[in-house]
């Protein structure tokens, strides 16, 4: 057991899979010699050499296209798109190519690859380097979409993503790279499609993802100690496949539900979850489901503005307290 940063967990997860399987290769901008702009891939070039760890030009379409061609013909590429926002310049592969190739070809074409993205806000990077793009990805049948919140999940879910025979979008949260957590020694492999209950509670279910997970946990602590409200906190971890059973199970127990989403409001992942609850657990509810999200605005750069926009511990506490009182 060792304490590891989320950042170092990325490199460890990739190294674990590259050591295991010679077909795993890694490519992206500044990922090899520079070790990544977030320093999340330091040491991989030294360990695996330039044949397997490749710096690319600033060519996001070439990165994802090459990853796909390699995946179709026998490799298991991990591609990095530096900032998740840049997915927009190579969106064709995410929207049209990766997810549809198997279906359109009646199962002939396989596309086992992982795209890692530096996702999310909190770093004062402004509107084009801070977005949460989960909902850009989860709308396409054929893709899997994963977003870990802790170092151990980074390793375990990354390993599961690499071993998965489908294309997987792997959303690393930029503002979590420096966060730390206990990680056991040895190989770690998790499963895609399983949510985790991180705090057991009885009064309401708080469903969160990525950076919103530590904030939901901190809010739950305060709601318990200051207001006596017992929150059950679920880390969704995997949006596709979605562990709807775990969510519905928690709602059946607590009868109230809150989603905490960093994305702008419209069509955030929480809307789909609330829709499922409305369809399948309506009579379990004692009150309306509540979505706590970034308002539907581009993210500003200045710290005072960005902090107001992204759901904070204080906002989560206040929203849940008020809703539970009404």
């Amino acid at each position: 057991m060792a304490e590891l940063t989320y950042r170092d967990a990325v490199a460890r997860g990739i190294a674990q899979e590259m050591s295991r399987d010679e077909d795993v290769v890694f490519l992206g901008e500044d990922v090899a010699k520079a070790g990544g702009v977030f320093k999340a891939t330091v040491g991989l070039l030294e360990k695996f050499g330039p044949r397997r760890v490749r710096d690319t030009p600033i060519s996001e379409q070439a990165i994802l296209g090459a990853a796909m061609g390699a995946a179709m013909t026998g490799l298991k590429p991990i591609a990095e798109i530096m900032f998740a926002d840049f997915l927009a310049v190579c969106y064709d592969y995410v929207a049209n190519e990766f997810p549809k190739s198997r279906y359109m070809t009646n199962g002939q074409v396989k596309c086992p690859l992982v795209v890692r993205l530096g996702n999310g806000g909190g770093a004062r990077f402004g509107a084009q380097h801070s977005q949460c793009v989960e909902n850009w990805c989860m709308q396409f049948p054929g893709l899997k979409v994963v977003a870990p919140s802790s170092p151990i999940d980074v390793i375990g879910l990354l390993a599961a993503a690499v071993r998965d025979p489908n294309p997987v979008i792997f959303l690393e949260h930029k503002s979590l790279y420096a966060s730390k957590g206990e990680v056991p020694d040895g190989e770690i492999v998790d499963t895609l499609g399983s949510a985790k209950i991180l705090r057991v509670g009885t009064d309401c279910s708080v469903i969160a993802l990525a950076m919103m997970v530590p904030r939901a946990l901190a809010a739950a602590e305060r709601l318990q100690s200051e207001y006596g409200i017992s929150c059950e906190v679920l880390d969704v971890r995997s949006l596709v496949p979605l562990d709807a059973r775990a969510i519905l199970g928690s709602v059946a127990k607590t009868h109230r539900v809150f989603t905490v989403e960093e994305n702008p409001r419209v069509l955030g992942w929480g809307a789909e979850i609330v829709s499922i609850i409305a369809d399948e657990a309506f009579y379990d509810l004692d009150g309306p489901p509540v979505r706590i999200t970034t308002p539907h605005i581009p993210l500003p750069a200045a710290d005072v503005l960005e902090d107001l926009a992204i759901p904070s511990v204080a906002r989560i506490v206040e929203t849940i307290r008020r809703s539970m009182a009404s």
């Binding site: 030009p57 060519s59 990165i63 296209g65 796909m68 390699a70 026998g74 359109m104 009646n106």
Partner: protein
């Protein structure tokens, strides 16, 4: 460049920026082909026996072109009978490129095609019935109707897909070539696309990547003079949309007569070998002309009067037949090929008409690798 048996077309000097009205362009391209033939030290085509191609290959080039012509014509006839729904993009007039490339490829080599991919798919040996069945949405179709005309794919034949988003497959072909290089495998990736593709970003990203990684990939531009409805010259900064960009990536400028299957075959044999040897990628611009509109919906009224007829004088199938006759191939032998192709296409048509529509059971299959479509538990 040292080349055997042919010389790429020399380039006629033009003003450096577009500006050709379409009929002028057609004439200019024609002239380019003719002038080059007359002025090249080694004549690039035509004279019987000048290009050293064995008899079996010549007959195969002929058979493939006749097959592609017949099958595409049949696809068109089936539209008219409303038996093919949706859209379709025909390669009528461009058969020499698909035939010449396929004949030069080895088993195991990979083809990456566009939505105008029927000919390239058939040329790799995929059954006509499978292709027509796919167009008709029948259960005997290549993908049982799940892909349609624009996505013909047959992995077992090395046809790794037909891509309907312009430019998408150039980086994908790079990736397949990267895998071959990484694993020390000897196959090459051949990527077909139209002139319009040269103005999209993925074209440039792919060329750059292919060169810096020295990938075993060959990019084949079928310049049929029109992007979709607009003449390529009106929207492109250079005269040769692909070849004039080659130097930007340190590649030689290769322009060939795409209506001459022998030229296509010999050029491709050489650049394929180069890729296979590990000497890196090539970009080849093949000058050609499509007889039909961009797609089924396009009557091609934007074409100036006489242009189509002008190009039909250089019809690849007709020219090749004349060449073989000139080389001493006997008429009955060629007629036998024609008849056999007709039998194959007729039989495929009958089989497709008799085949059941595709099974609705497959609506939900193969979304994910487990065979199903579940996105939640």
């Amino acid at each position: 460049m040292a080349r055997t048996g042919f010389k790429p077309l020399s380039v006629v000097k033009h003003a450096s920026r577009g500006g050709f009205a379409a009929p002028d362009l057609a004439l200019a391209v024609m002239q380019e082909i003719v002038v080059s033939k007359q002025s090249s030290e080694k004549k690039m085509t035509a004279a019987p026996g000048e290009i050293d191609i064995d008899t079996a290959t010549r007959l195969e080039l002929y058979r493939l072109q006749v097959l592609l012509r017949e099958a595409e014509q049949r696809a068109y006839d089936l539209f008219l009978q409303n038996l093919v729904k949706g859209t379709s993009h025909l390669s009528l007039g461009q058969e020499a490129i698909a035939a010449g490339c396929a004949a030069a490829m080895k088993p195991g080599d990979l083809s990456f095609c566009t939505y105008r991919g029927h000919a390239h798919t058939l040329a790799r040996g995929v059954a006509v019935e499978k292709v027509l069945g796919e167009l008709m949405g029948r259960d005997n179709g290549l993908m049982r109707g799940k892909g349609g005309s624009m996505h013909l794919t047959s992995v077992e034949h090395g046809v790794m897909g037909s891509y309907a988003i312009i430019g998408a497959h150039l980086p994908i072909a790079c990736g397949a070539a990267w895998r071959a290089q990484y694993k020390g495998q000897s196959d090459i990736s051949v990527c077909f696309f139209g002139d319009g593709t040269t103005n999209i970003g993925a074209f440039h990203e792919a060329l750059n990547l292919a060169v810096i990684w020295k990938l075993p990939v060959v990019f084949v531009c079928e310049n049929n003079l029109y992007m979709e409805y607009t003449p390529i010259s009106e929207v492109t900064a250079v005269h040769h949309p692909a070849a004039d960009r080659a130097s930007a990536y340190g590649l030689p400028k290769i322009i060939i007569d795409g209506n001459d299957a022998d030229v296509v075959y010999t050029t491709m044999s050489e650049v394929f070998d180069q890729a296979r040897r590990g000497d890196g990628p090539s970009l080849v611009e093949c000058l050609t002309y499509r007889y039909s509109g961009h797609s089924r919906a396009d009557p091609a009224k934007y074409r100036p009067e006489g242009e189509l007829e002008l190009w039909k004088q250089r019809d690849p199938v007709k020219m090749y037949k004349e060449r073989l006759t000139g080389l001493g191939f006997e008429a009955p032998r060629l007629a036998e090929i024609d008849a056999e192709v007709r039998r194959v296409v007729d039989a495929a048509t009958d089989a497709c008409k008799a085949a059941p529509t595709t099974s609705t059971d497959i609506l939900f299959t193969d979304v994910y690798a487990d065979g199903g479509w579940a996105w939640r538990n």
